[in-house]
């Protein structure tokens, strides 16, 4: 029986997991509080986790607030996503230096340590799966992504609180961690001392858990964990009908709603930067003053910048309307044609972190409702 494999870790056991991962050479990263938000960064122990914090989220609005208990994972996703580690924002690819008459090209070294991600949510697992498909499948796998993705140990967390902009249930991407993890935790925040129901997702996860102080979960604990996920699923802050959204958008490419949203859109690119599946980059060349060294690097780019669609003579997508439309139709429609799935996992980041609160679910709804009138 699958449920028979559920185990229990206490907070102490979870701390032991972090220590064990470190001992085995992993770079442990996870949620932590910085600058009044929950970001992803290096963590050493559970003391670095945002214990007792939660968030309040809405369009263009995020605030950290106290929970009133000591839950370690009692919040939704923040401004960072795991792509900052797997597909870094800026990355040198290589540099070349003059060596007498020859030129020495040095490729950038891969990271020394494999990653251990602590607290990956259901929607984020789906986002990683999508980026795997984008960056690794096909003929031209992305080497830096492969080097970072390989050997990553993933500790998932089933969400105990839906954020104000979450709609993962609409996108079939959560709140339960479905696949792609080594261990998945459900925090039972109302039990004293910290109780985490653990599901084993891989052989590596089983081996890691075997060395930690743990016990079998009771029927009651297993039911309580399922209850946590059900309650979260029923509390989504947003919703979007997604079964026909590709067709809906593609037959409305000239809809007046694109003009309306373009009036509000700042073409700032924040939505694409925070989106866990957006993968676009620009390549930049550098050369030093002495003419002795050159280099090539890449950084995240966005379909909201002019340079992004610049070809000889100008930008193809000069208007805000065409840039917003590119973003939304890529996420929700043409992604299916290109990569066989939606490009949206319903994490809500683009809504929360849009400086003017533009809401992808509201935009879809406006177009849908106009057809029904």
């Amino acid at each position: 029986m699958e449920t028979a494999t559920r185990r229990i870790l206490t907070s102490e056991g979870l701390d032991g997991l972090l220590a064990a991962l470190k001992r085995r050479g992993y770079r442990t990263v996870g949620p932590t509080v910085r600058d009044q938000a929950i970001v992803y960064d290096d963590i050493g122990s559970i003391a670095d986790l945002p214990g007792g914090w939660t968030d309040e989220q809405d369009g263009g609005h995020y605030r950290l607030v106290r929970r009133g208990d000591a839950a370690l994972f009692g919040y939704a996703v923040g401004p960072h996503s795991w792509k900052k580690f797997l597909h870094p924002p800026t990355l040198r690819l290589w540099r070349a230096a003059r060596d007498g008459d020859a030129v020495q090209v040095v490729a950038e070294a891969p990271p020394e340590q494999p990653f251990a991600f602590i607290g990956v949510r259901g929607c984020e697992l789906r986002a990683i799966e999508i980026q795997d498909r984008v960056l690794l499948a096909g003929q031209h796998a992305d080497t830096p992504y492969r080097e970072r993705r390989r050997g990553a140990f993933i500790v998932a967390v089933n969400c105990a609180k839906a954020g104000g902009t979450c709609f993962c249930t609409s996108m079939n991407a959560g709140p339960k961690a479905a696949a792609g993890f080594d261990l998945a935790l459900t925090e039972l925040a109302d039990r004293p001392g910290g109780v985490f129901v653990v599901e084993i997702g891989s052989e590596a996860g089983r081996l890691m858990l075997a060395d930690l102080p743990q016990r079998a979960a009771t029927e009651g604990e297993i039911a309580a964990a399922e209850g946590v996920v059900e309650r979260t699923a029923a509390a989504m802050g947003r919703a979007m009908r997604s079964d026909d959204v590709r067709e809906l958008l593609l037959r409305n490419l000239d809809h007046p709603r694109w003009d309306a949203v373009a009036e509000r859109c700042l073409t700032c690119g924040n939505c694409t930067m925070v989106c866990p599946t957006c993968f676009c980059t620009s390549v930049e060349e550098s050369s030093d003053l002495a003419g002795g060294e050159t280099g090539r690097s890449r950084r995240w780019d966005s379909c909201f910048t002019m340079d992004f669609s610049y070809i000889h003579g100008g930008a193809v997508r000069a208007s805000a309307r065409s840039r917003y439309r590119q973003w939304m139709t890529h996420k929700l429609a043409t992604w299916f044609d290109q990569f066989g799935s939606s490009g949206c996992v319903g994490c809500g980041r683009c809504i929360t972190w849009c400086p003017v609160g533009i809401d992808i679910t509201e935009e879809v709804r406006a177009i849908r409702d106009s057809e029904q009138r």
């Binding site: 970001v39 401004p79 924002p89 930067m273 003053l289 002495a290 910048t305 972190w353």
Partner: protein, 260 residues
Amino acid sequence: MAAEKPRPRLAVWKFASCDGCQLSLLDCEDELLAVADAVDIAYFQEATRGTISGRYDLSLVEGSITTAHDAERIQEVRRRSRKLVTIGACATAGGIQALRNFADVQEYASVVYARPDYIRTLATSTPIADHVPVDFALRGCPINKRQLVEVLAAFLVGRRPVTPPHGVCIECKLKGAVCVMVAHGTPCLGPVTHAGCGALCPSYDRGCYGCYGPKETPNALSLSAWLAALGMDERALQRVYRSFNADAEPFRKESERHGG
């Protein structure tokens, strides 16, 4: 052995400005020797007693045009320069002194100076590009020294400098900075401001002041509506766009929409 290639001649010119941008060049401690190796600094009043003579391969121009004499001098600088690059908000947009463009300069002078009759000044402060063709504009108040070195390095090999015209938001996101507007409710001009500073203020919990001027395709109208919702009144909205880049068109237009 091949004869040593002559180094390109560099000049740094000053018009109406505070010298801060020129000083960014002297502030490049780590790179200064490399700069001095790569170019012949032929005219640079802040650093040496250069004299104007001959032609310059690259002229860096700081400051705006505020006097009739300067309006003539910039023509001479252009004539002597193969490439002319403006550095900073004064040279590129008229600077803070372009606030006079919104007011009566005679009245200003009578308030500020004991003997206003000694003052010979134009009614406006205008960017260099209003007077002569400019090959490249480096933004900032002051400019960022890393970007200045990039402009010099690019000039030396004849490539386009990498100084992206997108907004400050992208710099925040690249460095993982938390958005001060979304997470703290702090008004910020980042979404309409040209990148280049490395998101300096938001990294220190401040909103962006717009030192680098308008980004490509800024939508200040929409941002203002949001800033108003965050609690900025009409007067504050007018002032927020009226600083170092007050006369850059998108900021000027937006400021004129507010404050009555």
